[in-house]
Amino acid sequence: MAASIDYESKIPNNVELSSDKRLQRALEHWLPKYLDWWNEMGPTDFNDKEIYLRTAVSVDSAGWAQFGHVKMPDYRWGIFLAEQEPNKKIGFGDHAGEDAWQQVPGEYRNWLRRMIVTQADTEPASVEQQRLLAHTAPSLYDMRNLFQVNVEEGRHLWAMVYILHTYFGKDGREEAEELLERRSGNPDHPRILGTFNEPIQTWLDFFCFTMFTDRDGKFQLLSLAESGFDPLARTCRFMLTEEAHHMFVGQTGMGRIIQRACELMKEHPDSNPREHGGIDLDTIQRYINFWSSSSNDLFGGEVSSNSANFFGGSLKGRAWEMKKHEDHSALEAFKTLEIWDGSKVVSETVPMRNAMNEVLREEYIEDNQKGVNYWNKIIDEYGIDYELRLPHRRFNRNIGVFAGTRFDIDGNLMTEEHWDERKGDWLPSDEDREYIKSLMVPCHEQGKIAGWIAPPNKGINGNEFDFDYVRL
């Protein structure tokens, strides 16, 4: 087996794979299983099609984005870490100022492994959730973007598996295999986080997912990119360059649906865009409410022991820890949070380290708001009086202190009965979902696009929209 793999050409990398016997042996075992997984759980029906994909072959500006037509199973999933900084020091937590760890510190081995496995588990999960979506792609451009997201999620899995294989010994190898054994929505061995077990059935959901849920990923990666465990930090830093594209797909995808709605509203001022095959802004708002609230959950509880442990242990920082913050110990700092005391919302001051989930969630919500502003600008350009918004962070939560209690879209407390009456105004109804599903008719002709979404302003890598992004 070893002799049959030409590592350098098959697996682009900057981790000296060709001379790392241990990693080679681990990969020999894992690679066939990964390909089996891709062939079983990836966008299998398009395996023999040539897709215009971006591949990273090195981490420098020339190499990180090379475009060309490639069949997905032949995609060169590489292993890349951002360049190592000489004399790197740990930036935060109780180990601030010490040399960054180049090996896993024994005392944090288990915590690190758990953090890495939890993060890694989401990467293949999203591929599984989206595996049938290409069949209903509104254009070849969008289909290509979906596949780009898919192969990069696959690469992110590789990146995490590299860390497990290289630094966590036998346990790491076992965890790497289990990442392929758990399957999204599988009744026996589901993915770790609930959100990643729901299939993505429509493109509106896909764009919401890449906008909101992938953005959770961005913030998790930002905080891990600060880690005192340098290989993890470097891996995450490189993953972030790719993650940005996923959010671009989400934000502009939603923007194009909104743009189409506005066009239809202008053309037919007296009727609902639905009557003309578009998606009305109210429905879009309900999808925003659903996806942003469920993604808010992914940051975990407002007050958390784990978050304190991870920050104190210099394992997981805040987003832009070194750039944005001055007190990197955060030991004497406190944060005042709104929490639910069982009967009302109250302010509570907690140690900053225990509030790190909420700190990250705040940054995340701020980032989401920028996307919403971008959409509202589109609406504004059409001279339409309508404003999309994010729901209040207390709205529709299933994790954290507000879970189990009902709040309206502005965060006001409400009774269960009142919620049942009103929830149809805020969250997609069965009828909404049926309608969106009914729009999911493929448009696979080059240069054409479905009627519920506008074409992009420009194509990929300087190409036109009318380009053979996928050779069907």
Partner: protein
């Protein structure tokens, strides 16, 4: 460790009182249902309904309130649903079985409470094992998700452990790596002594916070079987059925188990047959148990008809309940005199029914209940002096109370006759944790003495009791009051910690069993660790857990 702030109140007026005898319709944290010969106990801990403020019972973590419901369930099932052959334990949360004792609760509890909490939960785990061994009521731990710490310790008390295999649910002991303490509710002992996991693997298991899952958990014998998520309900049924079918049981209906609770007064509390007197000033008290005027039911059927009102069950449930209240509510009362009132002949008459009816399920249950109540007495960390004065009846079952006591004062004066006695109940039905009878433990060096005492049969007087080695001291009426007063005053003046340690060492002579190891080794070490700065100092692990601070250890090993 800030003890004062949250220590249970020490004075009569604001003493916190517990209710140890609950029925399923009063439960907050467990759902109990019985269907045919299978009972289901589903743990569904209500986060904000902890026994006191200051902690949230997240992720099916428990406090004393949760465990009282569990203990009540097992007692209730044994008497009210004797047809049950299998209890299925599971968790109501998605992918979580139980995450053990609540850490914040432990951190904010005074040391004495922690020790008593731990003791009570240990006794409850042993209830499950006793139900299996003595009543043919097996337990299946159906772990629908991760069982960590005390959650896995609860599972270890079951006959079979079934774990869901969803590639993430595990059994684990995170105590040492995360909190710097031990899985002290029998966990370490049961892993090596009951499940006989290899010690090196047990070492690995007990230091990996996230635990062991799937096939490895089976291979290491941490669980008996794993089942895929979609097959899990089916396999639970199969396992429960197999356990139920492994035993033969009665189909006679159970009895109503009337609830018991003490009537509190300023200087103690009372039940029908048990009276507890407290003297706060001297930190002493007494427990008096009264035998009825006549034997009452003369055979098993009559006893069954009397049900919960039958004296041995009624009186010992009251004694058992009283001990729980004393342990958790009257911490500063350190020395107790044990008194009995009534006729030794009546007591021996009741013992005769306990013996002749032992093949009846109800009498069998009562015998085992008496056994457990007496064990609870053995395990209560207070000084006990049994006092055989005029009017007392330390005979048969009640002689066990005297043998459980640290000392036995017998009034030996012809003007104030005292009657004692033995019965077959002293010869085996009430073993101690060490597996021996109290007589065997008392006369470990002279086993012939046991036979000699049992051979006497029936009642005897104080002089003979002294000759047989039953009395610690047997003063006459002239010295009696003074001797007792001095002994009690002296006892109450000693260090309570020193006394607890001394008594626990002297009470359990003889062989080690899993039970003695749990209380004498695991709990004792745990209690030591719980007092050490590495756990509860300002930067101790238990204190730092969940806070911004990480623990700082003093690394010197003792």
């Amino acid at each position: 460790m800030a003890e004062a702030a949250t220590a249970p109140a020490a004075t009569a007026s604001d003493r916190k009182h517990y209710d140890f005898d609950l029925r399923p319709d009063q439960f907050t944290h467990w759902q109990l249902s019985v269907e045919g010969d299978i009972a289901r106990l589903v743990m569904n801990v209500q986060e904000d309904k902890g026994e006191r403020d200051g902690y949230v019972l997240k992720l099916n973590s428990y406090d004393i309130g949760v465990d009282i419901e569990l203990a009540s369930s097992i007692q209730w099932l044994r008497f009210t649903h004797p047809e049950v052959k299998c209890i299925v334990l599971s968790g109501a949360l998605d992918r979580v079985f139980c995450s053990g004792a609540n850490i914040l609760m432990l951190r904010t509890s005074a040391h004495a409470f922690k020790v008593n909490f731990c003791k009570y939960t240990n006794e409850t785990r042993l209830y499950l094992e006793d139900a299996s061994a003595s009543s043919g009521m097996k337990t299946l731990a159906a772990l629908n998700g991760t069982a960590s710490g005390g959650g896995y310790e609860l599972a270890l008390a079951a006959d079979r452990i079934l774990l869901v295999d969803d590639r993430s649910s595990a059994v684990s002991f995170p105590e040492l790596p995360l909190l710097g303490v031990l899985p002290g509710t029998g966990g370490l002992t049961r892993v090596v002594d009951k499940r006989m996991v290899r010690r090196d693997l047990a070492d690995v298991f007990s230091t990996v916070a996230e635990g062991v899952k799937g096939k490895r958990a089976v291979k290491w014998n941490l669980v008996d079987r794993v089942a895929a998520l979609s097959k899990f309900p089916e396999v639970v049924e199969e396992e429960a059925r197999a356990l139920a079918d492994s035993v033969e049981k009665t189909t006679t209906p159970g009895i109503e188990l009337a609830r018991i609770a003490p009537d509190y007064r300023d200087d103690g509390f009372d039940y029908e047959y048990v009276k507890v007197d407290i003297d706060e000033a001297t930190r002493t008290g007494s427990i008096t148990l009264t035998v009825p005027d006549s034997v009452g039911p003369s055979n098993a059927d009559e006893a069954y008809a009397a049900g919960a009102a039958w004296w041995p069950l009624a009186a010992f449930r009251q004694l058992d309940d009283a001990l729980c209240h004393l342990r958790l509510e009257y911490l500063e009362i350190g020395t107790f005199c044990l008194y009995t009132r009534g006729s030794a002949d009546v007591m021996l008459g009741i013992d005769a029914v306990l013996e002749s009816g032992k093949d009846h399920w109800f009498v069998n249950e009562v015998r085992h209940f008496l056994k457990r109540a007496l064990k609870r007495l053995d395990l209560t960390a207070r000084s006990f002096f049994a006092i055989a004065d005029e009017g007392s009846c330390f005979a048969g079952t009640l002689l066990e109370m005297a043998l459980a006591a640290d000392r036995f004062y017998v009034l030996n004066d012809p003007d104030s006759p005292v009657t004692l006695g033995t019965s077959t109940m002293n010869a085996g039905p009430y073993p101690m944790s060490n597996g021996l009878t109290r007589l065997q433990t008392r006369f470990l060096g002279t086993p012939d003495s046991v036979d000699e005492i049992l051979a006497v049969g029936g009642t005897f007087d104080a002089e003979q009791a002294d000759d047989l080695g039953l009395a610690t001291f047997a003063p006459d009426i002239i010295d009696w009051d003074d001797e007792l007063r001095l002994a009690i005053e002296e006892r109450a003046s000693f260090s309570p910690d020193g006394l607890t340690g001394m008594e626990a060492n002297l009470r359990f002579a003889g062989p080690e069993t899993m039970e003695t190891k749990i209380f004498g080794r695991l709990s004792a070490w745990q209690n030591w660790i719980f007092q050490r700065p590495n756990a509860v100092g300002e930067r101790g692990a238990l204190n730092c857990y969940g806070t911004p601070n990480r623990p700082e250890f003093a690394y010197a090993r003792t």
